[in-house]
């Protein structure tokens, strides 16, 4: 029997076999899509096509993110570490099934942005 890390993650017919973090990710670590932060919003763009065989966790993510949802919230609601969600996202982004919100500009915040937050909190 091959080690799980050598298996094609799409090969598995039985979605119920899927389970543990890092098994879920096929042993991969996220690298491809940097700039995704804890508060980056993930949004489902379209459902997977029939030949795009996703893992159950990825299908759950797509269902959840029909409402734009921050990475950290996806992790909490799917009960997986953030690092695992990042890996699951790599494929979904490669297949353009999800989009991510643009990263905030680095460094000190912009005064207009900050003012919008202040006004918003005053209003709620």
């Amino acid at each position: 029997m091959r080690h799980w890390s050598e298996e094609d993650p799409w090969e598995d017919e039985d979605p119920a076999l899927l389970v543990r973090p890092y098994t879920v990710t096929g042993g991969r670590t996220p690298t491809a899509h940097s700039g995704i932060e804890l508060i980056t919003l993930i949004s489902t763009v379209r459902p997977p096509t029939r030949d795009q065989r996703l893992q159950p966790e990825q299908n759950r993510l797509l269902a959840l993110c029909r409402t734009p949802t921050a990475l950290v919230e996806v992790a909490a609601l799917l009960d997986q570490p953030v690092a695992v969600i990042r890996v699951l996202l790599d494929d979904l982004l490669d297949n353009e099934l999800v989009s991510v919100s643009p990263p905030a500009a680095a460094g000190t915040p912009d005064a207009r942005f900050l003012q919008a937050v202040i006004d918003g909190i005053r209003r709620i």
């Binding site: 919003l41 409402t67 734009p68 953030v82 905030a104 005064a111």
Partner: protein, 210 residues
């Protein structure tokens, strides 16, 4: 997006549907053990605080026979967060996380891109917020101190607390009730206005004579 609106989850405790390209902001809530961080996040969040547990691999140096050999230990660190949807284009996330020394590596990650931090203090154990104050001071991250008055009234003199914490005069210090939404708003606004003043100072300092 049409399907986002028809999704029942769109109303997942959030009055406004958020746009996929909405801007997001992060505010940290730090402080000693049991000081009311989760309570504060919950008081203002539109959801009950959610929790994620992160597996973090720490390198530690063995003290036993394998002297000097690096060992990896995996620690689970929990953080709470809450969400405030200010508009379809702007969402604020509040993160509460443990303020113990051994978790500072996590604060480094968390504080990247944060607008600023609220350090919660409890006058009965003021020293428990010292590490958080030190951390944000050293990293140059703007912060405000919220003094959580557990019994609803604070008899302490804010100036005495300021002195005890050795706070710079410009750092906001607000007496608050972490359970009370309006009180928490006051703390957040004190922080954000402090951040804004910092921006103004920076801008005037950077400006070249024309």
């Amino acid at each position: 997006m049409a399907f986002a609106e028809s999704d029942p989850r769109a109303s997942r405790s959030r009055a406004t549907t958020v746009a996929p390209n909405a801007a997001t902001a992060k505010i940290l809530v730090a402080g000693g053990f049991g000081v009311g961080k989760t309570t504060l996040v919950g008081a203002i969040s539109e959801t009950t605080p959610l929790r994620t547990e992160e597996l973090i691999t720490e390198a530690s140096v063995g003290i036993d026979s394998l002297a000097g050999v690096e060992q990896k230990t995996t620690t689970t660190v929990a953080m709470d967060f809450g969400r405030i949807t200010l508009s379809s284009a702007l969402v604020v996330y509040l993160f509460g996380a443990p303020g113990q020394d051994r978790f500072w590596f996590m604060w480094d990650d968390l504080s990247r891109g944060a607008l600023g931090a609220v350090v919660l203090a409890d006058t009965r154990r003021l020293e428990s917020c010292f590490p958080s104050v030190d951390f944000f001071e050293h990293r140059g991250i703007p912060f405000a101190v919220g003094v959580n008055c557990f019994n609803g009234v604070c008899e302490e003199d804010p100036e005495e607390i300021r002195t005890a914490l050795d706070l710079a005069p410009d750092i906001p210090l607000v007496l608050c009730d972490a359970r009370d939404r309006e009180s928490v708003k006051t703390v957040l606004l004190a922080l954000l206005e402090h951040v804004m003043r910092g921006l103004a100072v920076e801008a005037s300092g950077d400006r070249q004579p024309v």
